[in-house]
C-alpha cells in the first residue's frame, strides 16, 4: 500500500519537478509542457549509435532509474509512509546513489561517442569531489539520532531541526547533493552547450525519456534526503505530515534547480580542491562539534 502511495507521489513529484525545471530554464511556466515533451520522446525514433557497447547503452538509463528508486525507498514521507525502513537507511541511501556514478559511466561509455564518454569520466572526477561530503555530514546526523534509520533520524529532530543544529553539515550536504545530481552550477558532466548534453548526447526516444525521468527521480531523492536529514522530514505544525514532506521536498528541489541561474559553472578542478581542502576539514569539524554537543546538551 505505502509503496504504491510513495511511487505515485514520486511520479507526481517528478512531473512537478519537470515543470519547475522548464520554468527555471526557459523562464515561462507551462503545466503541460513536460507531458508533450515526454510524448514526443516516446514517439521519436530511438537511434542506436555506431559500434556502441549495446549492453551498457541499454543498461545505463535503467540502472540510473533503479538507483534513484532505491534511494527513494528509504525516504519517509510520513510516519509509516515509507517503502522500507532499513536499520541502515542513511547508509543505504549512499549505497544506492553511488550507482548513479556507475550508471552514468555505463551510459557515457555505451554509445561510443566522445562527448558522452568525456561526460561520464568527468562525472567520475566530480564524484571524487563530492563523495566524502555526502557521507560525512550524514555521519554527523546519524550521530545525533544515534541511529542510521531514516525514520529515527527524522524523529530525532522533534526538538530542533538539524539545519539549525548543524548548519555547516547542511550546507556541505546540499552542495554535495547538487554535485551528485549534476545540477548547475556543478553540471560539467553534461555541460549543455559545451558537451552537447554530455551523457544525454547520444540518447534519443524512449531511452532519453527514461534518462530524464531517472534524473528527476534522483533530484527528488536528494531533496528528500536533505529534508529527511536536515529539515525535519514530515515534522511541522497545522498541516498533515505528508503535506509537509511534499512542500519541503518540492521547495528544496526547486531551489536546487534554480541555483544554477545565478551562478557560473564551476570547474571540476576547483570544485575538487574546494571540497577536499575546505569541505572535508569543515565536515570533520562539524562531526566533532556535533559529537561534543550531543554529549553535553542532549536535545
Amino acid at each position: 500500500m505505502s509503496i504504491l502511495v510513495v511511487l505515485l507521489s514520486l511520479a507526481a513529484g517528478a512531473y512537478a519537478l519537470a515543470v519547475i525545471e522548464r520554468w527555471a530554464v526557459h523562464g515561462h511556466l507551462s503545466l503541460t509542457g513536460p507531458a508533450w515533451a515526454a510524448l514526443a520522446l516516446m514517439g521519436r525514433e530511438s537511434l542506436l549509435a555506431h559500434k556502441s557497447d549495446r549492453l551498457f547503452f541499454e543498461l545505463g538509463p535503467v540502472l540510473l532509474l533503479v538507483a534513484g528508486l532505491m534511494a527513494v525507498a528509504v525516504i519517509p514521507l510520513a510516519p509509516g509512509l515509507i517503502i522500507t525502513d532499513l536499520a541502515t537507511g542513511a547508509l543505504f541511501l549512499n549505497a544506492a546513489l553511488a550507482y548513479v556514478l556507475v550508471a552514468l559511466i555505463m551510459a557515457g561509455w555505451g554509445p561510443n561517442g566522445a562527448y558522452a564518454m568525456i561526460a561520464g569520466w568527468r562525472f567520475l572526477g566530480q564524484f571524487i569531489a563530492y563523495a566524502m561530503l555526502i557521507v560525512m555530514p550524514i555521519t554527523a546526523v546519524a550521530m545525533r539520532a544515534e541511529s542510521l534509520s531514516t525514520v529515527e533520524i527524522v524523529a530525532s529532530q522533534a526538538q530542533l531541526w538539524n539545519v539549525l543544529y548543524q548548519p555547516v553539515g547542511f550546507v556541505l550536504f546540499v552542495v554535495a547533493a547538487m554535485g551528485l545530481a549534476w545540477l548547475p552550477p556543478l553540471d560539467l558532466p553534461d555541460a549543455t552547450g559545451e558537451l552537447a548534453g554530455g551523457v544525454e548526447a547520444e540518447y534519443t526516444g524512449v531511452r532519453l525519456a527514461v534518462l530524464r525521468l531517472a534524473r528527476m527521480v534522483i533530484i527528488l531523492a536528494l531533496a528528500g534526503a536533505t529534508v529527511t536529514f536536515y529539515l525535519g522530514g514530515w515534522l511541522g505544525p497545522w498541516l498533515p505530515p505528508w503535506a509537509w514532506s511534499a512542500i519541503k521536498i518540492l521547495a528544496v528541489a526547486a531551489s536546487m534547480l534554480s541555483v544554477g541561474r545565478y551562478m557560473p559553472r564551476i570547474r571540476e578542478a576547483r570544485y575538487l580542491a574546494l571540497s577536499w581542502k575546505l569541505g572535508i576539514s569543515l565536515a570533520l569539524a562539524n562531526i566533532f562539534v556535533v559529537g561534543v554537543i550531543a554529549l553535553v546538551v542532549p536535545i
Binding site: 559500434k51 557497447d53 549492453l55 551498457f56 532499513l86 536499520a87 541502515t88 547508509l91 543505504f92 549512499n94 549505497a95 553511488a98 550507482y99 556514478l101 556507475v102 559511466i105 555505463m106 561509455w109 569520466w121 567520475l124 564524484f127 563523495a131 541511529s147 542510521l148 534509520s149
Partner: protein
C-alpha cells in the same frame, strides 16, 4: 531448501559468474564493471546472510572503487576491447593449474571438516550496528585505529608516488 538458500545460491552464482567474466571479456570497462557486479552480488549475499550493515557498506564501497578501477583501465589500456582478440595473459597453463588446484584444495577444506552446530538466529540489524560500533570503539579499538592509520598512510604514500616531481625534486 529455504528461500534464503535459494537467494544465497543465486547471488553466489552471480558473483562467481561475473568473476569469470572479469577475465574473459576483452573490454576493459566491461571487466571492471563485471568485477563491480561480482562484488555487488557478494554484498547481496551479505544482505541475505542478515549482515545488513556490511552488505550495504560493501555495495556502496565497491561501486566507487570499481568505477575508479574502470577509469584506470581505460587510461592505461586504451580499451583493446575495440581492437579485437588481443591476448593479455601469460603463463596461462601454470596459472590455470594453480587456480584449479587452489580451488580444489579450498573446496576440500570447506567440505571435509565438521563445522559443528550452526547458529539459527542472528541479532537484529539495529543491535548488530550498535554491537559493531561498541566492538570497534571498545575492545578492537587498536585494530580499528591502526586500520584507519594504514589507510591514511596509504593515501599519503600513494599521492607521493603518483604526483609528478617538480623541478628541484627532480635534480
Amino acid at each position: 531448501m529455504t528461500v534464503q538458500m535459494i537467494f544465497l545460491a543465486f547471488f553466489g552464482g552471480a558473483a562467481v559468474w561475473f568473476g569469470v567474466v572479469v577475465f574473459r571479456t576483452h573490454s576493459m570497462v566491461r571487466s571492471a564493471l563485471a568485477l563491480l557486479f561480482s562484488q555487488t552480488a557478494i554484498g547481496a549475499m551479505f544482505l541475505v546472510m542478515q549482515a545488513e550493515f556490511l552488505g550495504v557498506l560493501q555495495i556502496m564501497m565497491m561501486a566507487t572503487e570499481m568505477s575508479v578501477m574502470a577509469i584506470f583501465m581505460v587510461m592505461f589500456m586504451m580499451d583493446p576491447g575495440g581492437m579485437g582478440k588481443m591476448d593479455m595473459t601469460h603463463q596461462k597453463r601454470l596459472s590455470l593449474w594453480v587456480g584449479v588446484i587452489g580451488l580444489l584444495a579450498a573446496l576440500l577444506l570447506v567440505w571435509l571438516p565438521d563445522w559443528g552446530p550452526v547458529a539459527q538466529s542472528v541479532p537484529g540489524a539495529h543491535e548488530q550496528a550498535a554491537d559493531l560500533g561498541r566492538e570497534l570503539l571498545g575492545r578492537s579499538m587498536l585494530i580499528f585505529q591502526s586500520a584507519g592509520l594504514t589507510i591514511l598512510t596509504a593515501m599519503v604514500a600513494a599521492t607521493m608516488v603518483a604526483i609528478v616531481p617538480n623541478a628541484e625534486q627532480r635534480k
